[in-house]
């Protein structure tokens, strides 16, 4: 079904592994489409309560495969047709998405990590906004997400200087949820993903929705969004379970509904 990625679901966690290791998982059009399709499948699957995106081999994702670029390419059109729909699918997804950044994330690979909700970085990982080195601008939502994460001044530095950002520095900048030793990488990623998958999934999605509303709506509209979100959360089984567990002084068992 997929050729450029692996897709699997286990213990409520959907895993999307970019699988072009010889190119450090560079994007080709097919990979854009397969990621979009996989995110869509995970979004609509009842079983899935957390999504992990990672890379096969040494790299996370090295950005656009430059061997696909020629002088006839309409860069704007490629974004509208390939990268835009992929990033939008990620942005609109209401399930939590973890970028498990196992190695270098460059260019649109950095953008892919930025579009996710959590970024777990291996101590071997690094970010680089490499677009400037080939005379282009950050794309695939990059500046939208980066500016919100690190502020305008740092976003400008990172994008215009195009310097490599090692994992520890990324953490200081607020670009990493956590830096993980490469020795424990798989175990720690799985543990984190399973922890997220055990949360009240609907509430997690509604938190994503309301936090996005802060960027898109006026304060008054945001308050209405918040009221609707809380109304929806208040109707979930997980809310009832949470309250009951609290009263009974036990750990809640959330089912994601």
């Amino acid at each position: 079904m997929y050729e450029t990625i692996f897709y699997s679901v286990e213990n409520g966690v959907a895993r999307i592994t970019l699988n072009r290791p010889n190119t450090l998982n560079a994007f080709v059009a097919q990979m854009n489409m397969e990621i979009t399709k996989a995110i869509k499948a995970a979004s609509s699957s009842e079983e899935v309560r957390c999504i992990v995106i990672t890379g096969e081999g040494r790299g996370f994702c090295s950005g656009q495969d430059l061997s696909e670029v020629d002088e006839n390419m309409d860069h704007g059109q490629v974004l509208r047709e390939k990268y835009g729909p992929m990033i939008k699918q990620i942005y609109q997804c209401e399930k939590p998405i973890i970028a498990a950044v196992n190695g270098i994330a460059a260019g649109a690979g950095f953008s892919l990590a930025l579009a996710c909700d959590f970024r777990l970085l291996s101590d071997r990982a690094s970010f680089i906004n490499a677009f400037i080195h080939i005379g282009l601008i950050p794309d695939s939502g990059n500046s939208y997400f980066l500016t919100r994460l690190v502020g305008e001044a740092k976003a400008l530095e990172i994008s215009i200087l195009g310097e490599k950002i090692p994992a520890d520095q990324a953490h200081v900048l607020g670009l990493a949820t956590k830096v993980v030793s490469s020795d424990n990488w798989d175990a720690e990623v799985n543990q984190f993903a399973e922890r997220i998958a055990a949360l009240p999934t609907k509430a997690v999605g509604l938190i994503k929705r309301t936090i996005k509303a802060t960027a898109e709506q006026s304060f008054t509209d945001y308050l209405e969004e918040e009221a609707q979100g809380q109304r929806i959360a208040g109707l979930t089984k997980d809310h009832r379970e949470g309250v009951q567990a609290f009263m009974e002084k036990r750990k809640p068992n959330f089912i994601g509904k």
Partner: protein, 258 residues
């Protein structure tokens, strides 16, 4: 209540609900279905207990448009004799407020049905579109007219020529819809809106709709004369006496629709 094949109709506490019921076909409108919608609207319009009508679709979409299979082989003479759009004309005669609760796809004939409602509440993520141009035809149930009267010629041409998918943000910005709500709460919010209107003086609601519709069709001077007559007419109602007395006596009015 009459049994329908392609819709479900019900009512509760003064609010009637019409649900398009072909979810497997994204509520694509066939001719019988349109007739059923209009029949149900007319029945509720006559029913004294009903004060507002909500129209929505079962399943993921409001309505993805007309049933293409049904009309692929049509001929102009047959269409003239069939006179299917007469049902749409009857729809414009409904006097009570119609609230559309829309979601998913609102395409073609589905979009025309939505534009025939008085208020529209949309679930976030709803997409509106007139894709007729991609089939070598154009809207035929009022789409070019109603859309243009709401958003103006410039946007109407752009959207109709390209079959553009209109987002809720754009629809809100151009005055096509009243509100965007979370998909999970679409029906709850639509019913709340309907009940709010159902609490108002029914004759006021009725004559306000009548007058506002005239504003769309009439020149300003004629519209104002028309409005005046409706204003005078309300002074013949019991609810006008009740409303004004309640105001003077500092209490809540009880409207009876008479």
């Amino acid at each position: 209540m009459k049994a329908y094949e392609f819709i479900e109709a019900s009512q509760q506490d003064g609010v009637a609900l019409i649900e398009l019921n072909r979810p497997a076909q994204y509520n694509a409108l066939n001719r019988t279905m349109v007739r059923e919608i209009v029949d149900a609207l007319e029945a509720f319009d006559r029913d004294e207990e009903v004060r507002a009508i909500v129209v929505t679709g079962k399943g993921l979409a409001f309505s993805a448009g007309a049933d293409i299979d049904e009309m692929a082989g049509d001929h102009p003479v047959r269409l003239e004799l069939l006179n299917q759009f007469a049902d749409w004309d009857r729809l414009t005669l409904i006097k009570k407020p119609i609230i559309g609760a829309v979601k998913g796809f609102v395409f073609g004939g589905g979009f025309e049905l939505a534009l025939s409602c008085d208020l529209l509440i949309a679930a976030s993520g709803t997409e509106f579109s007139f894709p007729e141009v991609t089939l070598g035809v154009m809207p035929g149930a009022g789409g070019t007219q109603r859309l243009t009267k709401i958003v103006g010629r410039t946007k109407a041409l752009e959207w109709l020529w390209n079959g553009t998918r209109i987002t809720t943000e754009s629809a809100l910005q151009h005055g096509l819809i009243n509100r965007v709500v979370s998909p999970e709460l679409l029906m709850e919010e639509a019913m709340k809106t309907a009940k709010q209107i159902a609490r108002q003086a029914p004759l006021s609601i009725r004559l306000i709709k009548d007058s506002v519709n005239k504003a769309v069709d009439y020149p300003l001077y004629e519209g104002m004369q028309y409005e005046r007559k409706n204003f005078y007419l309300l002074f013949a109602s019991e609810d006008q006496k009740e409303g004004m007395n309640a105001f003077i006596e500092k209490r809540k009015p009880e409207f009876k629709g008479r």
